[in-house]
Amino acid sequence: MNTCITSRRRLVRSAFACWPLAAWAASLGVGPNPAVAAGLEQAQMVKMLEEIDERQRNQGDWQSLAYIEQKEKNKVDVVYEALVFRRSQDQKFMIVFAKPKASQGQGYLRLDKNLWFYDPSVGKWERRTERERIGGTNSRRSDFDESRLAEEYDPEDSGQEKLGVYDAQVLTLKGKKGLDLAFPEIKLWVDKATLNVLKRQEFALSGRLLRTSYYPKWKKVYSESKKAEIWYPQEIRFYDEVEKANSTLILMKSVDLRALEPNLFTKAWLESRSR
């Protein structure tokens, strides 16, 4: 076994030392390895998902400024600027809309198994579901949250494909039982060289394709809390497969990994923004 995978934590801490990841990927069977022909073992795929998650996991607080743009047929484009807050420790999550003025102060707050929506103009909280389209766009809470693929899905090997100039390992992920997931099935195209997710397709229980997403740009920042770099997609493009003319663009304008206020992820905090 390659030392890179004997200890996941060590691997991430010394990500550069082990670079290029191709060598590591080869050890998983995703590189030019004879094992590829026979497909990936279940354990290898689970490890692969864990690595994808781990590379993005901050193990601390996260704050980013996101630009969201939704295009729909015969409609004016919808644009938002939103602040995304996350806390890895207890998987708390919040989005607050900063622009435009009409949406300012509206927010989503995830606590335990609840996704709350707050609108300051009416001063009310509503419990929403994981399937809620954030601000009416084709993005979901999970698109802004930490990657938890290994915890939420069981992978299956779907072969390899060429995606533009990239060699991609394709995985089909089936949602684990008992979880309220936005999508019960996902197909993932992972760059074999870097383990960046390049493309993702999400399906309904019926098997119907709902959404195709592309992650063309990945960035990394150094996390003090993790003592390592973390990766995040700087650009995400969603194409609605039901309403074919609809698409959504998310740009992570900036990321800040410093510790957030302790009481940030509370209803009282979000309410206090508008009172």
Partner: protein
């Protein structure tokens, strides 16, 4: 004079002939009489239905003519289309201009602004609702309202929430006792025990928001009675609307006062969607028993309602505080003569009704139990939050006070008309989210600040992954400085800028309604006969085009969508039925008269031998037919008229919702019109004439020689 003499002679001969072949005359006459009877009754009923339904539709929401922007993609339907989606209409930016244009058209009496849209309203479950009430009271106290009234309400609500937690705790104990599979996960169970504990409530006043968050996140999810309402609503000027539409009637509460934001539930929606499910099921059982003669024993749907009511008592229990629970226990023990002390079990037994016990328990529910329950999830006077996705994509929420419920007289039982609720136009415009120039500018600036490129879905993979260039790389490694001042700045800017305002209390200037966006408008005419409506439609389109506000105008019948088509469809069905009946009658009459003519070959031949012309023979047969038609047709018409008059006097009771809709009310009173009588007689004469033509033609061809041969 000669003509009259001839006619007199023809008539006498016809009468003699008809008497001679009495049975055949009676058969033919009977058919004619039946046909005339059917035409009178059928057309009277249909015309009456048409009149009452059109009055209902015109007088409720459609007006005589509906107008909307000629640039619209969809056709307007004010009462819902088959897919129940609001039509995609191009907004009319300036209602004042539209009204001015329409009022310049001759015969236009009034114009009512309108706009139809829909939104999903999610109410939390019973625990959510009760916790939200407590949160509001906590907020009030934290804002400095420590009045006795607020404190009392706060303490009472705290007591109620504590009772809810106790119900949950008892529920867990019951489930455990039954060793049911639906037992809660240990962490949820621990959460319930924590919230039911004395220390939790002792500390509540110190950190109320934290305690509330704990219960909202950990306990409220344990109740699964959350509702999702789909509300279809019409924005309008409530005063103008109620003046223009005389069929609108407030059932509970009051209309939206001028200048106020408000919401009126249609009674139909209020009952079907907002009412406590247990009560709604009881109502449905009662209705089915009374209207259809259904029984719980034989009707699977009613049996299901009974089962659901009996098994879903938690929703009721959560509504009760300690005092109310004790009252329920006592009352139910008395009625059921049971020593059981668990109110949940008593309620389950109470709702487990059969055909014998149902009437008494139904009455008991409404008289004894309902006064302690919230029968409606949203009560008159409550504030309703409607959250809608605007046309330009924003999520927009408004708070509206619910002022009451209304119905359209005659359309009470119609789901299409009944699903339309009303709100003030100012709120509608806000929810509709018409993009103002300022908003558009803000969006453009936001987009420009990012400068994102458009990538079409077809080119996405090529553009995004086509080259391993730095800018389009799936694996670009770019170290970035920690931190982002932009986010902090955006967040800092957010605080203090938002003002929470109780919009439901805000009064707007009614003049605001004059200008601004509407999607469509109803036009009420002075004179509204069919030809007046047609003329008005043409005039509106012509005038609006000339004045630069191109409008599309459609009749009430078209605007009312599938409802308006019902009358046309029914009329078509009746006409086809009448046509078929008369075609059959024509064949039978024709056949009988041909037979009669053949039997009279000798007589006709003799007449021809003594000099009767062919024209005379033709006349004789036609007069015979017409006399038969006149006598029996008149009899049929009189019988039909008598029946319509008798029914019209007493009225026909509506036996179900659909009948109520067709009858435009609980009873239907058909009325007789001259046109029905004249029309029936005209049809009878035409049929008599047509059915006499072929026998007359045969008779004309009879010669004296044929008559003599027939004798041989």
């Amino acid at each position: 004079m000669r003509g009259l003499d001839t006619l007199s002679m023809l008539s006498r001969m016809a009468l003699r002939n008809l008497r001679a072949s009495r049975w055949k005359t009676l058969i033919v006459g009977g058919i004619i009489m039946g046909g005339a009877f059917l035409v009178v009754v059928g057309t009277s009923l249909l015309d009456s239905l048409d009149r009452s339904m059109s009055q209902s539709i015109i007088g409720s929401v459609a007006g005589h003519v509906q107008v909307y922007s000629a640039k619209s993609k969809d056709e307007l339907t004010v009462m819902g289309s088959m897919d129940m989606e609001a039509a995609d209409l191009d907004a009319l930016d300036d209602f004042a201009k539209v009204r001015k244009t329409l009022m310049s058209v001759p015969n236009v009496k009034a114009v009512v602004p309108m706009g139809i849209s829909g939104a999903i309203v999610t109410s939390g479950n019973t625990i959510d609702i009760e916790l939200a009430k407590l949160r509001e009271l906590v907020r009030q106290r934290q804002d400095g309202d420590l009045s006795a009234k607020t404190t009392q309400a706060y303490e009472a609500q705290k007591g109620h929430v504590r009772q809810i937690v106790q119900v949950l705790e008892r529920d867990i104990a019951n489930i455990k006792q039954l060793q049911d599979d639906s037992a809660l996960p240990p962490e949820d169970e621990a959460a319930v025990h924590k919230a039911a504990s004395a220390p939790f409530w002792a500390a509540f006043d110190e950190t109320p928001l934290e305690s509330l968050e704990f219960m909202e996140n950990r306990l409220a999810t344990l109740a699964a009675d959350a509702d999702m309402l789909f509300l279809r609503y019409m924005g309008t000027d409530p005063r103008v609307f109620s003046e223009a539409f005389d069929r609108m009637r407030i059932v509970d509460g009051q209309t939206i006062p001028p200048g106020k934001r408000g919401f009126l539930f249609s009674k139909y929606t209020y009952e079907e969607q907002v009412k406590l499910k247990t009560a709604l099921r009881l109502d449905k059982i009662k209705k089915a028993i009374e209207n259809r003669g259904a029984t719980i024993a034989t009707d699977p749907e009613l049996a299901r309602f009974v089962r659901e009511n009996s098994s879903q008592v938690k929703e009721l229990l959560l509504q009760l505080d300690q005092l109310e629970t004790d009252v329920f226990r006592r009352k139910l023990q008395g009625l059921l003569e049971s020593p059981e002390t668990d109110v949940g079990k008593l309620l389950a037994t109470f709702f487990d009704t059969n055909d014998e016990t149902f009437p008494k328990r139904y009455a008991f529910f409404y008289e004894e139990l309902a006064p302690s329950l919230d029968l409606y999830r949203v009560r008159i006077g409550d504030t309703l939050t409607i959250k809608a996705f605007t046309r330009s994509g924003y999520v927009q929420s408004v708070n509206l006070r619910v002022y009451g419920t209304f119905e359209f007289q005659g359309l009470e039982g119609s789901p299409q008309a009944g699903e339309l609720n009303l709100m003030d136009m100012v709120s509608f415009r806000e929810l509709y989210g018409f993009l103002t120039a300022d908003r558009q500018k803000e969006l453009d600036e936001l987009k420009a600040s990012v400068g994102a490129r458009d990538v079409s879905r077809e080119d996405a993979e090529d553009v995004l992954f086509g080259a391993p260039a730095e800018e389009a790389s799936g694996g670009t490694v770019e170290a970035s400085a920690t931190g982002a001042v932009e986010a902090q700045a955006a967040l800092a800017g957010l605080a203090g800028r938002l003002q929470r305002e109780n919009m439901a209390d805000r009064v707007y200037d009614p003049k605001n309604l004059e200008g601004g966006v509407v999607l469509n408008a109803a036009v009420i005419l002075e004179n509204a006969k069919e030809k007046d409506i047609e003329r008005a439609i043409a005039d509106i389109e012509r005038v609006s085009q000339a004045q630069g506000v191109p409008l599309k105008a459609i009749s009430w019948q078209k605007a009312s969508g599938i409802i308006g088509q019902f009358v046309t469809l029914m009329r078509l069905v009746l006409y086809v039925a009448v046509l078929i009946i008369f075609v059959i009658a024509l064949v039978i009459i024709n056949n009988a008269m041909v037979m009669a003519t053949l039997e009279r070959v000798q007589e006709i031949g003799t007449l021809r031998a003594v000099g009767a012309q062919k024209r005379f023979i033709l006349g004789m047969l036609l007069v015979e037919g017409l006399i038969t038609g006149a006598v029996f047709g008149t009899l049929g018409v009189l019988l039909g008229a008598g029946l319509v008059a008798a029914v019209g006097w007493k009225g026909i009771p509506a036996f179900n919702d659909i009948a109520t809709f067709f009858f435009s009310g609980p009873r239907f009173f058909p009325a007789l019109a001259t046109s029905n009588l004249v029309g029936a007689l005209a049809i009878v004469f035409l049929v008599s004439l047509l059915s006499s033509l072929y026998p007359a033609y045969l008779a004309m061809r009879v010669t004296p020689r044929q008559a003599m041969q027939a004798e041989e």
